[in-house]
Symmetry: C2
Subunit: 386 residues, 2 copies
């Protein structure tokens, strides 16, 4: 019987603290650490997480054991600290060994869980006074640390700019692929933002576009949007950004009833042309399991008619007007003209974007855009941080 302490993962788990003592109880082990913390681990949980090569396939580091194949009343017949590891023998004879760094990182006593929750990255809210985080194209393309700094700024602040990007069409794909593959949509892998006579969205006109997220018409709005300026000779067309999380947070303070309505009442967003008909019903503000704002979904020009009870309709209009009103307040708005070779990259589910109307008669204007999901951003950060 092999009892390797190998970890079913590609991460490393530095030892935070020594194991001091272990005590076998009816359905759990009570582990005491050198710093005094006590972590209970249920027998089922420990057996489920046995890292030995019989339970985890060493090439993929994926589990082959299914816990349902172990008795529900399995118990430890023996447990001790052995060369710093936790060593357990189970009824039935299987043996497991657990690395103290891994064990501490996965302990689920209240203190350990609170510690991990507190260590999670939090969004840094911003307003019109934001010092825009600007990165250099060559650095991001060549240096892993510059790349990581850019991605952390994106994750936590939700709005960044890259300068010095070549102005050949398609260059933004080079930047995107530093993160991962691009997320295709019905507008293509890369989309061209230009004024067109046969526009299939108001985005492809010269109109002003109010503050919005892209593709609120889909179950999952794209996580990141890259928007690259190739040519910008037209009058007007400035980019405008607001931190949707900052607005939601202010609304929560200033008008909790309106905030609640936007969290609870789903709204339909629609994107339709001759070849497609996308519809998605979802609230404008989505909260995560902890009650924190996780997403804003908003594009007035893609919104369908409101549908809620007659009694709640006035509240929904009041809340919606209030939210849109706030996106127009100077305190939240960052206005900036994008120049050729510059590229916006922002969190499309947080940072709402808009553009002023432009005059297509005054000169050419050509932007290219693409999307990447938050999953890719977070994966890339984790790999760079290994």
């Amino acid at each position: 019987m092999q009892t390797a302490a190998a970890v079913a993962d590609f991460r490393t788990y530095p030892k935070i603290c020594d194991l001091a003592q272990v005590q076998v109880q009816a359905d759990q082990l009570l582990v005491q650490w050198a710093d005094g913390r006590v972590s209970p681990f249920h027998h089922q949980w420990l057996r489920d997480n046995c890292p030995c090569p019989e339970c985890v396939y060493s090439v993929t580091r994926e589990q082959v054991l299914e816990i349902v194949d172990v008795d529900a009343d399995l118990s430890a017949t023996f447990a001790r600290i052995d060369q710093g590891n936790l060593s357990v023998e189970w009824s039935g004879g299987h043996r497991s060994r657990y690395d103290p760094g891994w064990l501490r990182a996965h302990a689920y006593d209240d203190e350990s869980r609170a510690e991990r929750r507190a260590a999670k990255p939090k969004p840094r809210l911003w307003d019109s006074q934001l010092q825009l985080p600007v990165f250099d194209y060559s650095a991001v393309m060549e240096d892993a640390n510059a790349l990581l700094q850019w991605l952390l700024a994106l994750r936590d602040g939700g709005l960044t700019q890259i300068r010095g990007v070549p102005t050949e069409p398609g260059s933004l794909a080079l930047v995107a692929r530093r993160i991962a593959f691009i997320r295709e949509s019905n507008f293509g892998v890369l989309f061209n933002v230009q004024s067109k006579a046969d526009a299939d969205s108001n985005a492809y006109t010269a109109f002003n576009l109010p503050l919005h997220s892209d593709l609120p018409t889909r179950e999952l709005q794209p996580g990141l949007q890259l928007l690259h300026c190739l040519v910008n000779d037209a009058n007007g067309g400035e980019s405008i950004f607001v931190d949707g999380f900052a607005i939601a947070s202010a609304l929560r303070q200033e008008d909790p009833e309106a905030f609640q309505a936007l969290c609870e009442i789903p709204v339909e967003f629609r994107n339709k042309d001759r070849h497609s008909d996308y519809r998605r019903l979802a609230p404008i503000i989505a909260l995560d399991a902890m009650g924190d704002v996780a997403e804003i979904r908003m594009a007035n020009f893609l919104r369908g008619p409101f549908e809620t009870s007659v009694a709640r309709m006035p509240l929904l209009y009041r809340a919606y007007r209030r939210f849109i009103g706030m996106t127009r307040e100077a305190r939240f708005r960052l206005v900036k003209r994008l120049n050729p070779g510059e590229l916006w990259c922002f969190d499309n589910r947080r940072t709402l974007h808009a553009r002023n109307a432009f005059d297509p008669g005054s000169g050419a204007r050509h932007f290219q855009g693409c999307y990447i999901d938050r999953d890719e951003l977070l994966s890339r950060i984790l790999v760079l941080q290994r």
Copy 2:
């Protein structure tokens, strides 16, 4: 002032019923229909949905009016039924005209909303006795109605098979593109399911794979999976399917406490190799706003250690063991060997799939797969139904 009854949409809205009467009240109109139904429409709602060419850009059929630019206390100065349409004049002078088919389709009185809710497609649950819906490749490729029938079977039943698909590598992309573009992942646009020495997932070994959904490690699991058999000369490797919605529904009946735990306690799924590190925390069963089961997220080999309070851990293990136990019950399982030229297409967020271990020494086995999102499926159905 133009007052076209044009609809801000590409759909048609047949007239269900004539408008009979309209009455102006303080903040709403009371519309009475010829069949006696009474539908209140708030002034704000009607003004917001004015379909005239000043309010909606006729090329894109997207709204240019923003309701926040209209007074919050706007009211109708005049309303009447005019050539079958509802005609309104607003304080400030703007005039709007509403088509009765459109108005009935968007009325939000309780009766109208209940009627629409009842008309929504519902999943048809199935078990081991399922008569597998099989479609013909040529028909699906050439005939719009055959395509629609296939897509409706997928939407409502979640498991279909297509036969007569060419066995050249890449052929499944032709089938996929009948729906829409393919959703790429870190495993590529098309992925090859073959036993590999340097596997980056247990899917690419010859092991048996327990019942699972693909990419539970992502915020949005792919909606549809296509799995196409090119070569299948190896012993073993039969496909197994269960209706995850049917199992969740049975669990809800048989063990409500376990069902509740799987809806409430988030579980981390992980997919990691040398180049990526995907992690997603979400419950195994997701409910929609109506409390109906909307999604199953499950892959034991990609699951991270459970993390919940010490008090709830035994309940989570009990619930998880029970759910996995049910996926193994004969009453739910459909077992079928896929032959060359056959293709599974199933709802990856509902229909769990598995395969028996196979013997790579006994012959070659080569499947290709790809993903498409539910958004594309639903859009395609809506366009085909126009």
